[in-house]
Each structure stands twice: as C-alpha cells, then as structure tokens.
Subunit: 185 residues, 2 copies
Amino acid sequence: MTSLEELETEETVTCLHITLYHPRQEEKQIFRNLNFLKREQLRADEVAKFGRDTNICHYNLMDSRVSRVQFALQFFRQLNNSELGFEIKNMSKRSKLIVDNLELDYLNKVDLPHKCLIRFGDYQLLIQRQEGESVDYFETRFELAQDSLLQERHLPLMQPIPESGISPSLNSQGVKPIEIDENDV
Amino acid sequence: MTSLEELETEETVTCLHITLYHPRQEEKQIFRNLNFLKREQLRADEVAKFGRDTNICHYNLMDSRVSRVQFALQFFRQLNNSELGFEIKNMSKRSKLIVDNLELDYLNKVDLPHKCLIRFGDYQLLIQRQEGESVDYFETRFELAQDSLLQERHLPLMQPIPESGISPSLNSQGVKPIEIDENDV
C-alpha cells in the first residue's frame, strides 16, 4: 500500500467504486472488515481477492456461506488500445458469479464492463470504474447500499438500459445508487 | 503442492510442457532453480509467476536482466465450452513479451494458444498444453533445449505453420523440439 504522495509523477489512478448490498448486513455485519468511503491503493500486480479466508483475501466477507476465495479482480491493460481495465474470475466451486446477466462458473473469467452488477448468493456489488492514468496502482472505494441494487440495473426483468437517464454520473462522492427517483427509470 | 495420490477422484491433470532455451544457459546456469523432467502440481487458483524475485516467483530465473516478475500464467475455464486453458500476462515494464507473433506490453494479457513460443530478451519458451480433466490442479514440466526454438515455430520468417508435418506429437515423454528432422520442415 503506497500513499499518493509517494508516486513519482502526478497522475490519476484508476478507481473501482464498489457499492455493496446484502439483505442481512445490518444483522450479521458481514462487511465489518471493509473500509468504507475511503480510497485504498493496490499495486497493479496485486490480485484483489474477495472471500472468507482472511489469510488469502484482501477484502474479507464475514459470512460462513461465502467461499474461502469467492472471486478475484485483476488489473490489466487492453491489448489494442492500452485502456486500463479489470478482469473478474469466479474462484468459488459452490456458487455462480453473475456479472450483469452473464453467469460465471468456477474458474470462468470475463473482462469487467465499465459499470456492472456482480451477484452471488444474496450479495450484490455495483462496480463502476473511474478512469485513471497510472499503470503502477489502482484503487478501490467501498460504499454501503441500504436497498437492493437490482432496480438500478433492471436485472430481474432483463430490460435494456437506456443510454441516458438512469445512471447517476460518478463524482468524487462515488456512486449513489439509492438516490434514483422513480421518474428517472 | 499435492501428490496425485491425494486427489479425491482419479482424473487426469492439465499439464504445461515447457521447453526452455537461452543462448547463455550453459555459461550462466540461468535455469538452475528449476526442476527439469519432473511434473510439478499447482493449485488451480495459484498464479505461476516467472521472474527474478524468489519471494514472489514460483519459477525463478537467475538473471539480473530479468524483471522481478517477468510474466504470469493463470489457469482458467473457457466461458462457453468449459475447456481448461491458461492466460499469460506480461508483468515486466522493461521488456515486451512475445506470444508467437503477438507483442504484449506491460499488463497486457492473452489466452495461451494450445502450442506457442514465448519470447522476451534472449529467452525462448515453447509451451504445449496437454489436456486434463481436473479443475483443482494443473501441472508444469520443464525441459531444456540445446538449440534455439525459433526454427520450430518458423517465427523469424512469419511463415504459416502447416496443419501437419511440423509439430511432433506430444507424448508422455513431453515435447522433443530438437529432434525435428530437416525433412519434416
């Protein structure tokens, strides 16, 4: 972990804004080991693992129903345009990982869309990528949602998402998935 | 590392047969930390890193011109057909990683062809995948080549590779890149 001040050149850092929802968070405090509303920096070659095993996972989910390692995120550069992106891989043999409407089985991987909803079990993670220049680091920032995020992505109905009018623009405060007015959707 | 006897069900394990060549191997013994002609088993979720840093890299290259981590191999399952494969990612900011004729810059990744020649600096690695069933483990097996492997892949000339007649079939003895008769190519 390196603070921004230690970077050699001043450059922006790609950030994954991750909004988490679990219906029993209030009761079970599943996300209690995560730092909320705070950017955290990882080296470009680090694999960001999410799961139950605190020895392996950078991001720990305190839930006996979660796999040792549930899924992993990796930073990479696109082959043709050098755009920075992330790959997600399902590391759980027990449960599917759903990226928007795409089901990933164990060891399946896919490049993460710019904005997407990740689901497994009762978990929902809305992930939005904020573009940056650095190839040495990336950042994560977590936010907690009080309500289900499915509405945000229209996922149960598999309706197409309009080009505009639904996604609140990403600002320095991160995503605000629960502030969508019904008139907007 | 787990021996085959400890696997729950009897199943074959995907193996990467890797033939290594470096023009100064005899003099510098760059590959002295690798086990040759012996299958080594890794967990499916392990990232097989090749490079100079013994603390990070499973496969160590004893060469000051090599990056801390030069490249990484990862096991995965294809999304549509569940075939097992490998992804290769260039982890070096200093040198390109060339997969057959495709140049990977830092953090570029590509799915590894069934058989391919990897190059960086003076290094040449011919990698051939032997299919297996296990989704829990994969294996590696190293062999040393005495002569350059470029001839094997026709790479400097970028000639098309015929469907048959050039690739010696993979058997339990692994690849034999230096046994190709000139009449075969």
